[in-house]
């Protein structure tokens, strides 16, 4: 049984969530992952959206981060200032999901520019809320396809803090959150080691360490025995395709 990259990433991201977590959700795969977790092992997950929606109960797949389906039936709606201050800065968010054009060896993220900031080769959307999520959520997870250009040794622009130049530097910076805990890709999972460097800790069934190394921009190390992830179950796939994304908008 083969799985698409997006199925693998979504299911493995969902499994990282714990029951009772308060999650700052983005659209796309993180949204699917959270809703999958809520329907399986984490019924007590509280979903928060940066648009100011708390405890959303979307009746349809939200197409943008401000979809009205997130509001109807939610527990609470507040201003953007409140969501960033009372929720995120105050330390009320357990988990943040992040993505970006580049993720480097220490989990720093670039969502701003490729090339020089003043004269960019490619202008990207910019931080949005990710600078604060990366800093202040207790745990961050990154979901992204595994491609060499996405995983350079060093990002062109540090939009959001991973472990900066290493775990010690993040710790001495005094930011409250624990930084990136895992990067879930279509090949496997990378996690930070004691220095904050992302190392390979798991592979999806059928993927080799060499494949992961070839698609990473630094000399990717492994830690201990590489775990092979459990394949998506029939039930997980059923929920994803029948309940969460029946039109196949995100799960291609």
């Amino acid at each position: 049984m083969a799985f698409t990259a997006s199925e693998l990433m979504t299911v493995n991201a969902a499994r990282l969530l714990r029951d009772g977590d308060t999650v700052f959700v983005g659209v796309g795969l993180p949204n699917l992952a959270c809703n999958l977790a809520r329907r399986t092992h984490a019924p007590g997950l509280v979903m928060i959206y940066e648009a100011g929606v708390i405890g959303a109960r979307p009746a349809r797949l939200p197409l943008s981060i401000g979809d009205p389906t997130l509001v109807s039936g939610a527990n609470a709606v507040c201003s953007m200032y409140d969501i960033f201050s009372l929720y995120l800065q105050r330390g009320n968010v357990d988990v943040g999901f992040l993505g970006g054009a580049q993720i480097d060896r220490f989990g720093n993220i670039n969502a701003t520019v490729i090339g020089d900031y003043e004269h960019p080769k490619t202008r990207l959307p910019g931080s949005g809320g990710s600078m604060e999520i990366a800093a202040w959520a207790n745990r961050c997870y990154i979901i992204t396809p595994h491609q060499k250009r996405r995983f350079p040794e060093k990002v062109d622009f540090r939009t959001s803090a991973g472990f900066l130049g290493g775990r010690a530097e993040r710790e001495s910076s005094g930011v409250r959150g624990g930084g990136p805990q895992a990067v879930v890709t279509n090949l496997g999972i990378m996690e930070p080691d004691e220095t904050g460097e992302l190392v390979l800790t798991a592979l999806h069934p059928g993927i080799t360490v060499d494949q992961a190394r070839e698609n990473t921009g630094w000399a990717l190390r492994t830690r201990g025995t590489i775990r092979i992830t459990e394949p998506p179950t029939t039930e997980e796939l059923r929920i994803l395709h029948e309940e969460l994304d029946p039109q196949g908008i995100h799960l291609k």
């Binding site: 940066e50 509001v71 900031y117 910019g126 990366a134 800093a135």
Partner: protein, 300 residues
């Protein structure tokens, strides 16, 4: 005192060349009709501030209204890039000033509060702070640690779309409330557009729902469907197909000009624009009612 006037009059009176403009709304209640009216009136050299420029500023930049954008996320939400703004930035033809969402919103909060700056905890990321000299630092006088600051943003004019307002400008907003209130209090002038103009007794029946009070409002414009292709909670849905289409339209400048000619210059106001969208789109964006449970204020 009534402040009712047409959107055309309001823009003509309160938006001048060179002004800084904040068209509010985080994905919700984006005042597209006002953006189009500004384009029609040929405003130039505007400084366009918004957390998420969205299509409204992509269109205004395409039409040549802007000399600068101030933003925290220049994407087409749920779709991808804002091609026009991106190309103008990459080509060095558009000035910009960039923040994170929290930085941007803190600028408005400071402006709305009458404070010169607002503090934020450090995010340790560093590069944006180094790239934008408006980010500064002060020492917390209690712990001795540094906090990051941004300066107040006080736009010349804020444009805020709401579900319902009375003729004086007291406005009820529900659903995602983003930075509507902060933008209105921060700005020197406020243009309010509303899906419905209601009797003041409707507003006064639920004063906790009033986010914007009349005395900071300059003009009140009755503009149904003002927010299309974004949405108004309870009134119509987001036109996601439009967001996807814009991505294609903006593949060529000719197509963009043709779009502006047809949908902005080719219609005289929002009523004509909505009419032109046609019954099929009207139907697709309809939403069934889902009412709030009322609360009792008590006849004291």
């Amino acid at each position: 005192m009534t402040k009712l006037c047409s959107l055309s009059e309001a823009v003509s009176r309160y938006v001048q060349d060179g002004d800084s403009v904040y068209a509010a709304g985080f994905t919700h209640l984006i005042p597209f009709a006002a953006g189009h009216e500004i384009i029609r009136q040929g405003r130039k050299d505007l400084i366009l501030a918004r957390a998420t420029p969205d299509l409204i500023y992509d269109q205004m930049v395409a039409a040549g209204c802007a000399k600068k954008v101030i933003f925290s996320y220049i994407g087409n939400p749920g779709v991808g890039s804002l091609r026009i703004i991106r190309e103008e930035l990459e080509a060095g033809r558009l000035e910009w000033e960039e923040y994170s969402h929290y930085g941007m919103i803190s600028r408005l909060q400071a402006g709305a509060s009458g404070l010169p700056f607002f503090p934020m905890k450090s995010t340790a990321a560093g590069d944006l702070e180094r790239s934008n000299p408006q980010y500064r630092r002060v020492i917390d006088p209690y712990s001795g640690e540094e906090v990051v600051t941004v300066p107040a943003l006080n736009p010349d004019v804020a444009i805020v779309h709401v579900q319902r307002a009375d003729a004086a400008g007291n406005a009820h907003i529900w659903g995602i409330i983003g930075e509507q209130k902060e933008a209105a209090f921060a700005a020197k002038h406020v243009i309010l557009t509303a899906e419905e103009i209601v009797d003041e007794e409707i507003i006064r029946s639920d004063p906790n729902r009033t986010l914007i009070p009349e005395f900071i409002v300059d003009a009140v414009c009755h503009v149904p469907y003002c927010a299309h292709p974004s949405y108004t909670q309870g009134y119509y849905d987001r036109d996601n197909a439009f967001y996807l289409d814009w991505d294609k339209v903006t593949e060529s400048r000719e197509a963009v000009q043709a779009w502006l000619d047809e949908w902005v210059f080719g219609v005289k106001d929002r009523a004509a624009y909505w009419e032109k969208l046609g019954a099929e789109i009207h139907d697709r964006l309809k939403v069934a009612p889902l009412m709030s449970t009322p609360v009792n204020y008590g006849a004291y």
